[in-house]
């Protein structure tokens, strides 16, 4: 496996796992509170819709020229990555509240209890729509990450393996534990995924506008190291008392 292939599988796996944990929390909170039937039908309907989108989008993406693909995918990845990384730095430095899957689960359950039962097409409509929306939106990010990561390296199959591994592990954990995956170090994962997306995004977007990286694929490792150092320094600076006074 080359450096960029290892990066591809790792970042697809981690990014997809984070999104799937969030979707799982919504489905578990709704299913446990209001019953499983409508929650699971909503989940399956969202997965079926996603499958149609992927079936249309996947082959269409393969037709785009590689440089244009790298530019578009790299730019989007860089935007996503920076959003994740910025929040992760703020969380790690104590400037922003940590993402708490237990708290989100409790809030989802409280919200689910508030709503009365509205039956449509034999379904508890609240459960159906909440699970559909949650799984569809998080799943869209998973599909987007998998297709674009894979397409930019002309290896969607490898990216799909990373996503599938994440799906199996998160689903198994959800079925076995039957509670939110609060032990998953989600904030740390987001920090790592933010670094990976930012590194990948920089590499591809710059290649897309014609940059030739010194060391070709090895430049990815250089970028990852560079951004890791920048993030580490920023966390340290933000934790320092004088930084608090400035803010």
């Amino acid at each position: 496996m080359t450096t960029s292939q290892i990066f591809l599988v790792t970042s697809t796996f981690l990014a997809c796992a984070v999104e799937m944990v969030e979707a799982l929390t919504i489905v578990l909170a709704t299913g446990i509170t209001r019953g499983w039937r409508s929650a699971l039908i909503g989940t399956l309907a969202a997965l079926a819709t996603l499958a149609v989108i992927v079936a249309i989008l996947g082959p269409a993406i393969a037709l785009v020229p590689i440089h244009a693909m790298q530019l578009v995918v790299g730019t989007l990845m860089l935007i996503f990555g920076l959003q994740w990384l910025r929040k992760a730095i703020l969380r790690a430095s104590g400037r922003k509240a940590m993402h708490d899957e237990d708290a989100i689960f409790a809030a989802e359950q409280a919200e689910a209890r508030k709503h009365g039962r509205d039956e449509r097409a034999g379904l508890d409509w609240y459960s159906f729509t909440i699970c559909f929306k949650g799984v569809f939106l998080e799943g869209l990010e998973v599909a987007f990450i998998t297709i674009t990561f894979g397409a930019a390296q002309q290896n969607v199959g490898l990216a799909a393996w990373g996503a599938t591994a994440a799906l199996i592990i998160v689903l198994l954990a959800g079925v076995l534990l039957h509670r939110p995956l609060s032990r998953v170090p989600e904030n740390t994962l987001k920090y790592v995924v933010g670094l990976l997306l930012t590194s990948f995004g920089t590499f591809w977007a710059a290649e897309g506008v014609g940059v030739e990286w010194p060391g070709t694929d090895l430049a990815l490792l250089g970028l990852l190291g560079f951004y890791a150092i920048v993030a580490f320094v920023l966390v340290r600076q933000l934790r320092a008392p004088q930084a608090v006074r400035v803010a």
């Binding site: 935007i79 920076l82 959003q83 920089t202 977007a205 506008v209 940059v211 990286w213 951004y227």
Partner: protein, 62 residues
């Protein structure tokens, strides 16, 4: 028309997220890189340095 606007708004929200400045910073960084590449100046360092600078400056906001 309402649905087209909603569809467009969904994708903008999905891609740009909750901080539009990040998207602007990335586009500006890429534009500068493209101009330098076009003039023949080695430009591989521009985007990483620009991104690092943007991250540092953006930390003043929550």
């Amino acid at each position: 028309m309402k649905y087209i606007i909603a569809f467009g708004a969904f994708w903008i929200d999905f891609i740009v997220g909750d901080d539009w400045r990040i998207a602007v910073a990335v586009v500006v960084g890429l534009a500068v890189t493209a101009v330098l590449v076009w003039t023949g100046i080695p430009a591989w360092w521009v985007l990483p340095v620009g991104i690092a600078g943007y991250l540092a400056v953006s930390m003043t906001r929550k």
